[in-house]
Symmetry: C2
Subunit: 322 residues, 2 copies
């Protein structure tokens, strides 16, 4: 009797503990129902642990992405830090605009300009040096509007979701258009996701011996753009099986959600909809960053789970937790 | 007292159970000593479980590779199977030689010829169709000399090593010059290594919707040659941390071993030396397949562990187990 009572109390506590920053609502319920059915032995929807693959976009899904992708703040700060060694940058685009913090000027330089900025800040150094650069920047740089360090701009409800899935035997992956090496430098500590489960856009690497010591040099040549149709490619190449759970927030995630949803058996496809101008930002179909248009229509048509950030989340950032 | 006796008996049994197909000798001892020191809490060489990354070459390290890489038998058999739809192949190289089983003729067609054969057999189909082709072939094709199915030509002592490492908290990876999709089709069942831990040479993939259903098409364009200096590249890209344990058998593994050995703390670098003409094949510095020359010199110079297949292994293939 005491035992039963203890079980009941524990079960009740456990139910309360799950996803505490999520309001009761359809989105939270879809998640909990899905996890329950794929983890219940004997259920027709049961999925063995090794096949419980969950993939998450990063920018706009696990952390914020306004007014521009945070990796771009890193690019601009690295250009500024290197500028004393490059006096010609003061008069040469796209560096001139980057040094002035003129994002429109940078955008005007087009893909070629972006590639030049990436080459100057993400290539021509060893993987170890790059990781040191990212970590040094991440420990001091602050968001221009919230004045928080960027690792504090992750979404508390999504952190809880990632942990909840892991507690239920899921293997959690990041599958992001952002830079793989950029994310791996900090995301393991922040999300508890190991480097081998962080997939992103990536450049070519070159093995070299320097003073007899092997290094990997980062080259200014793209190996994979892990965005849009590149996401299922990254998933197949790195994971080699179809996820059963995927979460994104933009049209760049549409093919990842389609790929996930196309498998047999129970599947979960979710979108974070940025609806909260007071606590975060409100944007979707017209936004140059994190545009959510076609994927929102497909979510409606196919019954994917759409999280209304304003209604579904009690807190947005960890600092707001009660 | 009974408890102590049980502990002692269990420990003795466990020691006997470890690597039973390995003869007592320096190679076996190096392995056991290494595993013991990196897994003993409080040891100065202790390595936390999440950093216990072990990488294995496949061809010549986990399974045999003579007289040619087994994947090439698959290529030839696929060309034969497709030849009724390609009457022009009877008179066009490299297909003419492939259809005749004339390996020298195929080799004479050079890299361009090999690329044409790979394109005809490894591209222009979905990833799912390719996996079906590999599995169908693997269940029936037999080695021309041993007449065994190819999955029976794995090395029993290496199977035991992979399991021994896993039992000690290691995460075991294949890092092979062979085709990633080719290996993933069968290697999980044979080695117990999941697809996401099988890294190999790979082509580009393209996401497409076919009748509204998403597929990934295999393209005839190389994305990574995971051999030689490409192995550390594959390791960094897929795993994102340096292994502490690596096993290979040829010069194609040299940079993987260098990369592994270059890390701080305890490291293990091993080579399988094919010395057993009676039970397997004997070859090294002059062999066109699995050439072991520079890496053997480096192993000697640096004290890497070299397995003498004839002396160190009680059995080579699973069928020979006592």
């Amino acid at each position: 009797m005491l035992c039963c009572l203890l079980c009941w109390v524990n079960a009740s506590l456990a139910a309360q503990d799950v996803l505490p920053s999520w309001n009761d609502g359809a989105a939270r319920q879809h998640i909990v129902d899905f996890v329950k059915k794929v983890t219940t032995t004997g259920s027709s929807d049961f999925v063995p642990a090794e096949q419980r693959i969950a993939v998450f976009d990063n920018d706009g899904t696990l952390w914020a992405e306004q007014p521009i992708y945070f990796q771009f703040f890193f690019v601009i700060d690295q250009v500024k830090a290197q500028s004393p060694q490059h006096p010609e940058w003061k008069t040469t685009e796209p560096f001139k605009s980057a040094l002035a913090g003129d994002l429109k000027g940078v955008a005007a330089s087009g893909e070629k300009g972006i590639a030049q900025l990436m080459a100057a800040t993400h290539a021509g150094m060893t993987t170890e040096q790059f990781a040191r650069n990212v970590n040094a920047w991440m420990s001091t740089a602050r968001h221009p509007e919230t004045h928080r360090v960027f690792t504090e701009m992750v979404y508390q409800p999504m952190l809880e979701l990632v942990h909840y899935l892991r507690d239920n035997g899921f293997k959690t992956y990041i599958v992001s258009g952002g830079g793989q090496d950029f994310m791996r430098a900090w995301a393991t500590a922040v999300y508890g996701i190991p480097p081998e489960q962080i997939i992103g856009s990536q450049g070519e690497l070159k093995f070299e011996l320097r003073d007899g010591k092997p290094v990997l040099m980062k080259e200014a040549k793209v190996a994979l753009i892990d965005d849009g149709p590149g996401k299922p490619v990254g998933i197949e190449r790195f994971i080699g099986r179809k996820p059963i759970f995927a979460f994104g927030n933009s049209d760049g995630d549409q093919q990842m959600l389609e790929w996930t949803a196309s498998g047999d058996g129970a599947r979960f496809a979710g979108l974070v909809h940025h609806t909260d101008a007071a606590r975060e930002w409100a944007y979707d179909r017209q936004s140059p960053v994190g545009k959510l248009d076609k994927a929102l229509d497909e979510a409606t048509a196919k019954g994917w789970t759409v999280v209304d950030m304003q209604k579904d989340w009690k807190a947005v950032f960890p600092a707001e937790q009660k």
